[in-house]
């Protein structure tokens, strides 16, 4: 009997003919791609190339914008997330980390416990366990364990960003979206976040939008290059960076434009 590989390349997201627009502005033009489970899928491209719109489509955060229109299908585990999914349930499974740390004006504990509480978990000790586990997973526990009840605003920027990661992990998600998560951080904090991502991908599917081309090459398994709302090419990160198909991709990663 043929032994199955430990991690079969299961498809997490299957995106078909995705088009998105804000009012009359086209943000994504006919995009199709697949994202494997337990990969770090990186998306690079200059500003206004539709990267964040794409990311926010995966957990339907774009729904908040009344001018947003989307056509095409996004399947997560073969289920259409726009037609056969409850948005709140989807967002519990697909967490997002924003470019700037976004603590809520609550204590560190209450920030991390926010998601579980909204899911109806009230038991103190269950919440405490979840908070501790999540903060350990995001390598923040040792720095904050003695001041969980102080305001999250007293943390440094890097710590706040890792707390936001813990907040996502506390919901026990399947996918974590990172929207330029290190653009506001110093190199050491950036390295810590990248390190965390590489460990997190064992359990979660990670999709990373980044302005930092080097970052994409450091952590990515697959990389997609977006330009003006179009997918120029998508391939293994190694191929994209060493032997891209398209001239435009090469120009971008070598810094000739963008």
């Amino acid at each position: 009997m043929v032994t199955q590989p430990l991690k079969p390349n299961k498809i997490k997201f299957d995106i078909r003919h995705l088009k998105a627009r804000y009012g009359n502005t086209e943000a994504i033009k006919d995009l199709s791609l697949q994202i494997n489970a337990n990969d770090i899928f990186t998306i690079i491209g200059p500003a206004n190339s539709g990267k964040s719109t794409f990311l926010n489509s995966l957990n339907r955060l774009n729904d908040l914008n009344p001018n947003f229109k989307l056509t095409g299908t996004i399947l997560m585990d073969d289920i259409d997330i726009y037609h056969n999914y409850n948005a709140e349930l989807l967002r519990k499974k697909v967490g997002i980390i924003f470019a700037l740390p976004t603590p809520l004006p609550l204590s560190i504990f209450d920030n991390v416990a926010y998601g579980p509480r909204m899911s109806g978990i009230k038991n103190k000790s269950t919440l405490m366990e979840t908070v501790e586990k999540s903060l350990k997973e995001s390598y923040l526990w040792d720095e904050v364990k003695d001041r969980l009840n102080t305001s999250a605003f007293n943390l440094s920027g890097g710590q706040q960003q890792r707390m936001c990661m813990a907040r996502i992990l506390a919901m026990n998600p399947e996918v974590i979206l990172f929207d330029e998560p290190t653009s506001g951080l110093d190199p050491i904090s950036t390295a810590k976040v990248e390190e965390a991502m590489l460990i997190l991908k064992e359990k979660y599917t990670i999709i990373l939008v980044t302005n930092n081309v080097a970052q994409a090459s450091r952590v990515g398994d697959k990389t997609a290059f977006f330009l003006m709302g179009e997918l120029v090419e998508v391939d293994d990160t190694k191929t994209i960076f060493q032997n891209p198909n398209e001239k435009r991709t090469e120009d971008y990663i070598t810094g000739k434009f963008g």
């Binding site: 955060l61 908040l64 709140e88 967002r91 976004t102 809520l104 004006p105 998601g115 909204m118 919901m171």
Partner: protein, 285 residues
Amino acid sequence: MINLRNAKTQEKIASAILLGCTILVVMPVVIVLAVILYKGIGAINWEFLTAMPQKGMTAGGIFPAILGTLYLVGGAVLFALPLGVLTAIYLVEYAKDNFLSRIIKLAIVNLAGVPSVVYGLFGLGIFVMFFGFGVSILAGSLTLGIMILPVIITASREALESVPQSFRVVSLSLGASKWQTIRHSVLPHALPGILTGTILGIGRAAGETAPILFTVAAFYLPHLPQSVFDQVMALPYHLYVISTQVPGIPESTRYGTALVLLSLVLILNLFAIILRSKFRKRKKW
């Protein structure tokens, strides 16, 4: 040199004028307070605050009027605060920006500019006669409540709109429903602003005479109300009555009544201000 000196002179003149205007604004307030305090303090004693009026209001106390005003303000806030806050939540968080919601907003702004005597007539027509509440605490409270609704709605809307949008996005991104987001991440941070609006509303409701004139206020009623369908005396109307309608009231009684009304409003405001500053201390962004 001459230019420089001119600039300095102008600066001095400008700041003198500005200071003068500010003093002009503050002076009437100080004078009013001082006169009322000076002339009214003599009348204030335990009996004045807690006794029934006697001998056609020329003697005794003003207790029913104090209690009446408290009932009316309490009733108005009880009615207008929840309704106003919920309306503001709908307008800010749920209503789409379309023709209808713009009409509603315009209507609320205009409601704030309606003269109070018109509210009084409206209350008479709707609550006293149409709903058959009679001239009663219920009718008066509802009339006052409608009068302070626009104040509360406008303040609540501004308070809700000033809560950073990112709180909503973060909360929703963590899987919270829209109502959970409002309940846990928006409303708590809007409370200080909402309370400010309520303070303003309380001040207006306590001091207005016209809206209660036809709906609740009793000319002379030396006993306490038994239910919300009873009439009550109220401080502003009582002040009007003893100042203009009944001869032979001692001056100190009139100013004493004014002093009590003023103090009552200030105490209610103070209470709300303390509450607000408590909430503000929790503000951390």
